[in-house]
């Protein structure tokens, strides 16, 4: 990456402070006030709203192939999600995806 150490540390500081304030919010400053139901309903979906969108272009247009869709990486992505849905286990999913990628790269590469 083309970033100066000062820029990287600025990012770390901003993300750290922001994350801490999110964690501290209701525990610290707002106290015992109940959080409105509509807000809870949206917060519930934040990880599942951000992570798939972040990963989709990386899967479809991988940098390693110059942005051309690649069967090995698509297969590995599918295996990872499938393992996650079936086992509900992050580690098993990582190994399923990594193993599939390794095998598929041997096979197609």
């Amino acid at each position: 990456m083309n970033m100066s150490p000062a820029h990287i540390w600025l990012l770390i500081a901003l993300i750290a402070i922001g994350t801490y304030l999110i964690r501290f919010s209701f525990l610290g400053l707002i106290g015992n006030r109940p959080i409105p139901e509509w807000l809870l309903r949206h917060l519930r979906y934040t990880p599942v709203a951000v992570l798939p969108g972040l990963v989709a272009p990386l899967v479809l247009w991988p940098e390693a192939t110059g942005g051309t869709p690649d069967p090995a990486r698509l297969l590995a992505a599918g295996a990872t999600v499938l393992a996650g849905v079936l086992t509900r286990n992050v580690l098993i999913s990582i190994f399923a995806g990594g193993g599939t990628l390794f095998a598929a790269l041997q096979l197609f590469g």
Partner: protein
């Protein structure tokens, strides 16, 4: 006399937290390795793992840093991943609210997914616990996890610095994210949110400054919440 139940609560929390070593260790190692491969120094990797202490957000920031996204977009995306913690904070507030401010401040620092999950389950099953016992259980459950996260990040960064960059770890971040997402798809609303996120992010991939992702995330959040509301027949709990 009051110390015996508190020690016991701490011990129970610690035991409940032990299995998370198996999550934090490989995940931390991976962040360390991928971080140094992407160009972070060991100190910068540790800065992330100690100050931010939120794996998914750290990986998200790392990916966008490699894409040379603008500062504001990187921070906003990483914080969006962590917004769920506001929900954890709100749901723990009735239990830990009576504690002194400095203890709540420390509790906020270690408020990660796993600590929240075991603690809230325990507090709701044992409403008779005193505030002291609740705090002891909470910090007990965080104790195995947090040092493991630091140590594994450091070991990964140290190992990553020795791995030549051409060793194609390019797909480690996508696989990690997908592995996190799979287990989250536990209802129709979650699946709808995830699909919205994917379709919108791909459709808006051409927008400048990686801003398409944030728009996709907001749309996906609204989609998830709306599907949930309709599945519940519109009734308010």
């Amino acid at each position: 006399m009051a110390t015996a139940p508190i020690t016991s609560a701490f011990r129970h929390g610690f035991i409940a937290g032990l299995p998370f070593i198996l999550v934090a260790m490989p995940f931390g190692l991976l962040f360390g390795v991928v971080g140094t491969e992407a160009g972070l120094s060991i100190a910068e990797v540790m800065g992330f793992s100690v100050a931010v202490i939120a794996g998914a957000a750290q990986f998200a920031a790392l990916q966008l840093m490699q894409d040379n996204a603008p500062t504001l977009i990187i921070v906003a995306t990483a914080l969006a991943v962590n917004l769920r913690m506001a929900m954890y904070s709100a749901s723990l507030a009735p239990h830990l609210g009576p504690a002194p401010l400095w203890k709540r401040a420390l509790a906020a620092y270690v408020l990660v997914d796993q600590v929240y999950a075991v603690s809230i389950a325990r507090f709701e099953n044992a409403p008779a616990m005193s505030i002291g016992e609740k705090l002891a259980y909470y910090f007990g459950s965080a104790l195995p996890l947090v040092p493991t996260w630091y140590g594994a990040s450091f070991a990964g960064a140290w190992a990553g610095a020795a791995i030549p960059p051409e060793y194609g770890l390019d797909f480690a971040i996508p696989i990690t994210f997908l592995a996190l997402v799979g287990p989250m798809l536990r209802s129709l609303a979650h699946v709808a949110a995830a699909l919205t996120s994917v379709v919108m992010a791909l459709a808006l991939a051409g927008l400048p400054y990686n801003s398409g992702l944030l728009i996709a995330a907001v749309a996906a959040m609204v989609m998830g919440a709306e599907v949930e509301r309709r599945m519940n027949g519109g009734k308010q709990p």
